[in-house]
Amino acid sequence: MNEAASVVWVISLPLLGALLATVWRQYAATIGWVSSALTAGCAVWLLWVVQRAGVQELALGGWEIGLGISLYADGLAAVMVLMSSLVVLGCSVYARHYFRAQRQHELFWPLWLLLATALNALFLAGDLFNVYVTLELLGISASALTALGAKRAALRAALRYLVVGLLGSMLYLMAITLLYAAYGTLNAVQIAEALQVDPLGWAALLLMLAGLALKMALFPLHFWLPPAHSNAPAPVSAALSALVVKAAFYLVVRLWFEVFAPLTTPLLANALGALGAMAVLWGSWSALRAERLKLLAAYSSVAQLGYLVMFFPLLAVLEGEARQWLFGAMVLFALSHAFAKSALFLAAGILLQYAGHDRIRELSGTTQALPLTTFVIALAGIALVGLPPSGAFLGKWYLLDAAFKTGQWWWVLVLVAGSLLATAYVFRLLGHAFGHLPAVKRPVVAATQEIPALALALLATFGLGLGAMSLWSWLAHTGTGAGL
């Protein structure tokens, strides 16, 4: 089959699944996990194609660039698609059992597959307007999925999530308008070539950064994340925290290192890094004080996104091979968080179903009742703290190394403080979970729920840590430089 077809299939398979799941409601669950499994297969194929044949560019329907929808797959995009497809697959297998005997499951599957479609389309979008459309698709499906929680708190969180998402997209759309007025094109590569350092370029960059910072919950615009991520159903929380905020981060990376490269001064990078540092400290501190497990996980996401932004000031001053290593480390950190956080939210969902609550203080006996689930929480915790052999360990190691090499030692202080706080919140959780209760009944937990959570946690802790070397070679095929 045509090699470029792999780019199309990772988007059209979940879309097809969403349509079929809407029509044949009684088979929605089966359609859902089958199409996510096929999509994951195609994502592997896509990565293989990009490895072998280089960057794939596709103009859908034969429309020339500038008029039609253009898709663009390089190493970075292929890795992100694979990440999202694997997390979606894990959550889909989990969700089959999770939503069993619940009215929401028929509503869940079409929205869920649309979310997967939007994510993959966003990672592969070749022009800035497609990015806007996929951002809106993502925001609307994510907010509708959050509202499936059905409680007042969930509805309120979903509404706020939707409004914040729309606000972010409007800022982004205004920036696109400015860029189109100046350069007459929406294609990312063409704008990157034509971009000039002038007030209009600055206005566009700042509008886009503001919109995307809102969407990726960068401190101090993180206020909407904890309620939305902690009130959604478990598989939805997992995807929101692992993937949806990552999509906004991916766009920031693309715009920062490719499209707006001449405008991104070290000063701006340092300002962004400072916000990241505050996110790390505030997010970790709030996670330590959180009373509920899902809230802890959500605040921990705020902190982890902060680390990702802290890579920017260091990437701004490094050059050559050192920069390539650091860029790869940033992607590795993002992947590691995606798998670890989705595993943690899935485990929290099992706990919530079993105990009926997720109050951390009252988790005594969890280890006796749910040994495998507790193991998943511990594994995910290892990756969140950044202990070896997790992928996050390598990510933090390179960050530390770069901070010393460039003499920007203050990032090290933040890194150490953040990691200590993370250790504290993970061990506080495990401390309560290991509390002994006499005669705890072992509940029957479906293996289809525990095993995907375990697989995702193992990927974050061992898979990414031990198999990290191949990531850099995958990223080598990243187009327009991607800073490489």
Binding site: F129, S143, A147, M170, L171, L173
Partner: protein
């Protein structure tokens, strides 16, 4: 008197668009009630669309650039669907009885 006719109409439209965008942004951020936030977002959207339409203008004797028009159409569809979803959630919130 120079009169308004001397001012480039495209410039006027762009300014009006940016003004609406700013009002909408301000309203979305400051109003506490969600219906007002949604209306503000729509005002903000109208501002962006107006700017896009003004950008499409290429002079009196040339047809306008079709690409921004297509973007506005897409944007309107997105805005309508998102507004509908937001209104449904607001209704559900009012009907919800738990807590």
């Amino acid at each position: 008197m120079v009169g308004l006719s001397a001012i480039n109409p495209q410039f006027l439209y762009v300014c009006a668009g940016i003004f609406l965008f700013a009002i909408g942004l301000w309203g979305t951020w400051l109003h506490a009630h969600y219906v007002r936030k949604i209306i503000s977002l729509n005002v903000m959207g109208a501002g962006v669309f107006l700017t896009l339409i003004a950008v499409a203008y290429r002079g009196e004797h040339l047809p306008p650039d079709p690409v921004p028009h297509a973007l506005v159409l897409t944007g309107i569809v997105v805005a309508v669907s998102a507004t509908a979803l937001a209104l449904v959630i607001i209704r559900r919130l009012e009907d919800a009885t738990d807590e």
